[in-house]
């Protein structure tokens, strides 16, 4: 959990504090609290252990497959549309040979459709050494839609083919080199060789640190990475068909990848990790699920901005690649940046709730069920808080109230969903929750059991966290972060002091659809329900 906190939250909080000046103090406040949280974790001195389940604010209710990487290569697709059909970019030759005014141009994979991220070379119409004149077809490219002839806008000689027939290249990647005169062919060839050959070094360093590529390689001042930790036997490399395909496509040296699959084989995920990509595996029926993405125009700048500010790793540090679940968390966290969120906090008196909990605990009712039930009952009265904004243009009112609850599990996070939490009674809900947690541990949750949430609940109260800030998972309207309930001295209007149990809840919401007054009203209702906890059993 700590690694996620480290990777996902700090950049986000920093960024928020910059972009929302009015909330700067607020954010810093949360930041401070997070440090407290760490301290709590490290001291392992949880105070009020009344809440049973582990939870955390960083959610992965949907795991979205994503093929373009977050590292530098993701800038390529964006680059492409700005360049017209010619698919050729000229590159002034290196400084060393400035005297020769040669023009060597790269032919690169054009974007043939708006959805195209990579293309396949069906055939080269011209072969190496052919003289091309403007307007001639050079290569046939297969996009996700159709085959298209790509023409040259320049006269010249096709000096070298970088990507051969049947191979694929990302949009914007060089697929061939065009020389203007015969004299430049040799030079162009050298360049092509460096393109195809030298692109491997830009891909990951060898085995022991496969994930180094995900934090772009620092300037090569540090010597070669630490010696391999595990001595590999002379075993033959076994890679699955798709892993081989991916390795070829991303120019990953398959021999340098350590397989993590069954019998030590190299899986597509291993290659993706080695190439610094987020997993795109769409393994049906498993815990990896494709879901519609909310419109996220602001995604790319965020992705490219974050890594550049990272310092080079401290020598001797170890890099552990994300698991599939962790990658999904990471991806969702980055994606969440495209949603304008805000937070509203509310103190809730829990004496009645605590009393009720003591009463129903022997019947198998958990605090999670109580909180989920309370939230669901409040949501029923405030449907807008249960809605979501799918396209930036409309409200999607959900017909069911499905409460997703964040659970930390084996170094990851999953959000089992209590469906129709407003309709089920407390006991059924508790039973359902028990089943879900067992299934989650056994990795047997069905997709609809972790991705159908309409509202998320995250509870760190059991660690003694008094308040925290949750990130809104993409596709939902609001998330509630629940802190610990603590005895608090309260002064009433008449000046009488008393001690009441108070719990701080903090809701993060999508301000495109849920406004401050909505959230405040919702929280007021929630507070009333909790303060009259007996209603939860009805």
């Amino acid at each position: 959990m700590q690694t996620q906190l480290g990777s996902a939250v700090f950049p986000r909080l920093l960024r928020r504090s910059l972009s929302y000046i009015p909330s700067i103090l607020y954010s810093l406040h949360w930041l401070l609290n997070l440090f407290h949280f760490f301290r709590f974790l490290s001291n392992s001195s949880p105070q009020s252990q009344k809440h049973k389940e582990m939870a955390s604010p960083f959610l992965s209710n949907t795991i979205i497959s994503f093929s373009s990487s977050l590292s530098s290569s993701s800038s390529l697709p964006r680059l492409a549309p700005s360049i017209p059909f010619s698919a050729i970019r000229s590159k002034s030759t290196p400084r060393r040979i400035l005297t020769v005014r040669s023009k060597i141009r790269e032919i690169f994979m054009p974007a043939l459709s708006s959805t195209m991220t990579e293309g396949k070379i069906v055939s080269w119409v011209k072969s190496e050494g052919d003289v091309l004149s403007k307007g001639e077809s050079v290569v046939v490219v297969e996009s996700d839609k159709a085959d298209m002839d790509v023409e040259t806008f320049y006269d010249g000689i096709l000096a070298a083919i970088v990507v051969g027939e049947g191979e694929t290249a990302l949009v914007g990647a060089a697929i061939g080199v065009l020389a203007e005169t015969e004299d430049e062919i040799a030079e162009a060839k050298a360049k092509a060789a460096s393109k195809s050959g030298a692109s491997t070094p830009s891909a990951p360093p060898p085995a022991p640190t496969p994930a180094a590529a995900s934090t772009p390689a620092p300037p090569k001042s540090t010597p070669a990475p630490a010696a391999p930790t595990v001595a590999e036997g002379p075993r033959k490399t076994v890679a699955t068909p798709y892993a081989k395909k991916l390795a070829k496509q991303h120019k990953v040296d398959i021999e340098s990848v350590v397989g993590t699959g069954p019998y030590g084989r190299i899986t597509p995920e291993d290659i993706e990790a080695a190439a610094g990509l987020s997993p795109s595996k769409k393994n049906v029926g498993l815990a990896v699920v494709v879901e519609t993405k909310p419109a996220a125009p602001a995604k790319a700048p965020a992705a490219s901005a974050a890594p550049s500010s990272l310092p080079p790793p401290v020598p001797g540090s170890t890099v552990v690649p994300f698991t599939t679940m962790q990658s999904a968390v990471s991806k969702n966290m980055v994606e969440s940046l495209s949603v304008p969120t805000f937070r509203v906090g509310y103190p809730v008196t829990t004496d009645a709730l605590d009393a009720l909990y003591e009463k129903v605990k022997p019947k198998g009712v958990t605090m999670t069920a109580l909180l989920a039930k309370a939230a669901a009952m409040a949501l029923a009265q405030h449907p807008v808080v249960n809605s979501s904004c799918k396209d930036g243009k409309s409200f999607t009112y959900n017909s069911n109230i499905n409460i997703a609850v964040a659970v930390a599990i084996n170094g990851g996070l999953i959000t089992p969903v209590l469906q129709d939490a407003d309709k089920l009674d407390l006991y059924l809900l508790s039973q359902k929750w028990k089943e879900l947690v067992e299934k989650a541990r056994a990795k047997q949750l069905q997709p609809q059991e972790y991705n159908s949430g309409t509202f998320t609940l995250s509870n760190l109260g059991m660690f003694g966290v008094d308040r925290f800030d949750a990130i809104l998972p993409p596709g939902q309207g609001a998330i509630m972060a629940v802190g610990a309930s603590k005895p608090t001295v309260v002064a009433d209007a008449d000046g009488f002091f008393s001690v009441k149990n108070k719990m701080l809840v903090n809701v993060t919401a999508d301000h495109r659809i849920i406004y401050g007054a909505d959230l405040a009203a919702f929280l007021q209702t929630f507070s009333k329900i909790v303060e009259n906890a007996e209603s939860l059993t009805l």
Binding site: G166, T240, Y242, L286, V290
Partner: protein
Amino acid sequence: MHSICFQATGVPRSNYIFDSCSPALAISKPINLRFCGLRKEAFGFSGLTHSSSGRVRFSSRGHSKKVSASAESNGSPPKSFDYDLIIIGAGVGGHGAALHAVEKGLKSAIIEGDVVGGTCVNRGCVPSKALLAVSGKMRELQSEHHMKALGLQVSAAGYDRQGVADHANNLASKIRSNLTNSMKALGVDILTGVGTIVGPQKVKYGKVGFPDNIVTAKNIIIATGSVPFVPKGIEVDGKTVITSDHALKLESVPDWIAIVGSGYIGLEFSDVYTALGSEVTFIEALDQLMPGFDPEIGKLAQRVLINPRKIDYHTGVFATKITPAKDGKPVIIELIDAKTKEPKDTLEVDAALIATGRAPFTNGLGLENVNVVTQRGFVPVDERMRVIDTNGNLVPHLYCIGDANGKMMLAHAASAQGISVVEQVTGRDHVLNHLSIPAACFTHPEISMVGLTEPQAREKAQKEGFEVGVAKTSFKANTKALAENEGEGLAKLIYRPDNGEILGVHIFGLHAADLIHEASNAIALGTRIQDIKFAVHAHPTLSEVLDELFKSAKVKAAALSHGPVSEPVAV
């Protein structure tokens, strides 16, 4: 009449074919050679399946007293017969023959030692179509680009393996009971047990451990079909090393499966497995994948069905040894070079599907009693399906249809051959034109073909001295295909420009299997391009792909003059 309709519509067409045996397909020498030496293993395996089966016992009317009578006169043809026609094997071929026989007024019986329906219905084209229907839908739902282009949003397409398996199984049971009922309703006797020929016009049948019954018939059709062929060195355990028989039960979906053989069966299973999330490695003995398809269609099919999917392949290699997963080891496949026989590679996968074709199931048929010797297991027949004995003479009143004769290992070919035999025994000479029998592979998109491939046509043209014309149309130009956002596809026509004869049609694209019949009917009826091009197709339909195809053919003017084009008649 009703039942005839049923047969045409209710029984899906076979896709199963032994690659090296169809005249429409290129013959692959290496496979044949290996096949010869391996017959025993294949049969040993099949015999087991056979003897363990056989269930209900139908007693047929009043033949019991004749049993003794005919047993005495064993060796000479009987004077009176129990039946006009007996068919050994109730697969699609036997069923087609039986139905047509009833229509022709023949008293018929069908002998089945296993379950009615044969390979196609129980372990072949029928259940595989159920799996392919699922894989097609999964593919669509998983294709984000495709869905987005249609404006659809789908999240979390998943499947329940058991549900899919049940669908396939239910479909097979349903078609099986349809088949059984249609025969019973028409008065075809279903005799249960293993049928053996004991002499001319005489067959015995019976379950193991029960006394045999002997029945006589004027004519006998052998329609015993085939079983999956498993080359030597491959150990089938039914769990991790499997044949199509096991794969169709879909008891597991392995992460990584090797498919030995890239013909129809292998290709269809690769479609199913990749759609369900598996990765696939093809092992093909020939130098290219999909041997037997028209090369141009094969190339396009490879671009669409293999390259973009999670599939890799090894061509020009034999799998000499395949060991099932056990003792914590994966399935191990040893490959040797098909030409040099040098060890080439060893693969470690989660499962292996053996799709190296099918072997005829003719063991124990009693062919020696009529002096017939099988060739590589196949029963030798002439063009009228009459069985040929060791001396090259025809065996009177004995016919063999379907996979057992190996002419064209397709369910509908067997049925057509059966109908042809019935026509002959009822006094009308009939020779089936195998070049008019279509074949289809039900991948997504589908592949279908009829007649000659381009190389075959060119070879024939060179021998016979005529010119070959080739016309092509793309699905990209078809409105309906574009509406479905499935513009990937090609239809190819191979024809004689001098007289407008259709030599072959090959289609790769959406619903290709359903589109081929316009061409196969034209070949069967001898319709020429200059005539069929005036036939009208509803717009917008996929059939316009063929309309365009016929219209784009360039038939010489000389042919047009004697091909009488019917003038429009005002009504």
